[in-house]
Assembly symmetry: C2
Homo-oligomer: 370 residues x 2
């Protein structure tokens, strides 16, 4: 991959910020930007070909591989943003907990007592995840201003839940037993996760990420009271820290995105995070999401990933519906404050052509023709 | 178990209907009734003792065993309703698809083509699930009017999803591929499931069930548009059929309950089912649920099952919160149109004493003292 001597910049003087970044700030836009959660992944043959030679963790930990995988969907689909190829659990070894992927994550140990929590470390991102920061620097050079790069991390609650459960789970019995049975220990664990995530995501911004996204995959396993008392204040802490890092870097309006699945019952509370963009799954319409959240925050979503397994006519119909529910479409152009995306990660059995059809359809249906 | 020569009755002349039934009808009540989803199950030592001798399907298919298991939580907890011990998949063999439990359900084959759908049968409930109807008749004698008996079935969408997936799944890729890729076949499958469930649940009412509940466990995997176009109209068909069976049985106001998890984003649409009671998971507050659904329908729910793994003080605090969000509590008495329940099935690792504490707390906090 070619090297470049140009230092990574967030914006170039005299050049407008990228479409995606302006949409995140709810500014006027010329069409609705689109990217796809998990756009770099198993549904792409070029990804599977690379993964035949390198395992998942090696792919995450080798900047050149992470860079190449990140660029694959940008080349094939023409999406409006790149998102770093990585995993929300990469900070765990630095905290003192090794993790393997077979293919789901398996932690070497679980955190269930106050002693377990005390033994956790808040890692220095440059020391424990320097490969992520290197990948970001490399990607900024490779992307060369074509589309912006999104950095990301798991939100504190989701990180904490993984540490307690030790892997994927359906009912979160161990984590809920801790949260409702030993709330002080759970709170201490959440604070370690908050500090870790805040430092990690801030370091990504310092390395050149042009937007920062927090994935709270498991927040939707909790009800409004616990979300408001326990989950969202820690997200706010991370957002504040990342904002400070962005200010220090000279980009006070760097977009911060918060995504929580199954959040329809407490979506309005997401405003308290201070995020610029709220990611919305497909279990609520964007019209209802807007009514719940009010103006002044952008929405990202929210097509059911399962739609991309269906007929092209249904893909087009449903893309048009999402655009219309956001307030845009033919004759109306792009809705302000809407970034098109799926409501959750793209499914591994998705035909790549269907993903391409979606990107093209969103462009066609929202572009303002002059 | 003692026999009785008294024929099963829905109501006795001159005797008020049971508390639970009156609460379902949103009538005035003297305290908030409570029962617990999956109240007969693995968290109970007496259930585990019985299951050491009999496997799951034998327990479902032997009326005396199903009866005994159904009664276990009634005896131990003092809940205000019994729910038949069974499984939503017991009608499948009659449709032509055998099912095993190891311990999750595993179907002998999957339904994925129009030909597969054509080969399904709509079974005669007396022929294919006579043991369920026998268990209901036996239970009505055993309960002898103490608490009412709820019959139940899986809703059409959830049954159809199981038939396509062949077992539990996280992403529903096969079912969504059918629904969005071959919608006519999916529609035909949903119609067979609708007819099956309608006949099966109606037969339970004819055998003596005093309330009928539809579990739509997987409806929450779909967005508002698909729910309104595809999921809820079929629920309405079942509700209408069960209502006709209840009228024929002389109980025109037999309560019908519809439960869907992860439904916060389209809860208001549940009114179109015609159900008397909407079951609500814990991802939305009952105050928000009431605002979404309006008056004239009862709510059942909605404590996070994980709370019962926690400290007694937290169990009491959270029970009080649910009661308050429904509009009841000390000084206010029971909220009209609220049946206390968990937002999902009780977790297997729940201490039975915590379940008992919950039942006692709800009683204490809502009873009108004279």
């Amino acid at each position: 991959m070619p090297e470049s001597s140009v230092a990574p910049q967030h914006t170039k003087p005299g050049v407008a910020d990228p479409l995606f970044v302006r949409a995140c700030r709810s500014e006027a836009i010329e069409r609705t930007p689109i990217w796809i959660m998990r756009q770099a992944g198993r549904y792409l043959p070029e990804y599977r070909a690379l993964r035949e030679r390198y395992d998942f963790l090696t792919s995450c930990r080798t900047p050149e591989l992470a860079c190449e995988i990140t660029l694959q969907p940008v080349r094939r689909l023409g999406v409006d943003a790149a998102i770093l190829f990585s995993d929300i659990l990469v900070p765990l070894p630095g905290m003192g907990v090794d993790v393997a992927f077979n293919p789901g994550p398996q932690l070497a140990r679980t955190i269930r007592s106050a002693d377990d929590v005390r033994r956790l470390r808040v890692p220095d991102p440059a020391e424990s995840t320097g490969y992520v920061l290197d990948a970001i620097r490399l990607l900024r050079r490779e992307l060369a201003g074509t589309v912006p790069l999104i950095g990301f991390a798991g939100a504190p609650l989701t990180m904490a839940a993984y540490l307690v459960e030790g892997g994927a789970t359906k009912s979160f019995e161990a984590f809920k037993r801790l949260l409702f049975g030993a709330p002080a220990t759970a709170e201490a664990l959440l604070r370690v996760c908050t500090e870790t995530v805040a430092a990690y995501l801030s370091a990504q911004v310092e390395a050149g990420a042009q937007a920062a996204m927090l994935f709270d995959t498991w927040a939707g396993q909790f009800g409004p009271r616990d979300v408001e008392a326990t989950v969202l204040p820690r997200v706010r802490d991370v957002v504040d820290a990342v904002r400070r890092a962005a200010v220090a870097r000279g980009v006070p309006d760097l977009p911060i995105i918060y995504y929580a699945g199954e959040a329809a019952g407490w979506l309005s509370a997401c405003r308290t995070t201070g995020a610029d963009v709220i990611g919305v799954d497909w279990r609520i319409g964007l019209d209802a999401a807007r009514a719940s959240l009010g103006e002044g925050v952008a929405l990202q979503g929210n097509l059911d990933p399962g739609i991309l397994l269906g007929e092209p006519t249904i893909i087009r119909r449903e893309a048009a519906r999402v655009i219309a529910e956001a307030g845009g479409g033919p004759g109306r152009g792009p809705a302000r404050g809407h970034i098109f995306n799926l409501g959750h990660g793209i499914l591994p059995s998705t035909p790549p052509d269907h993903a391409k059809l979606l990107v093209d359809t969103v462009r066609e249906l929202t572009e303002v023709t002059r």
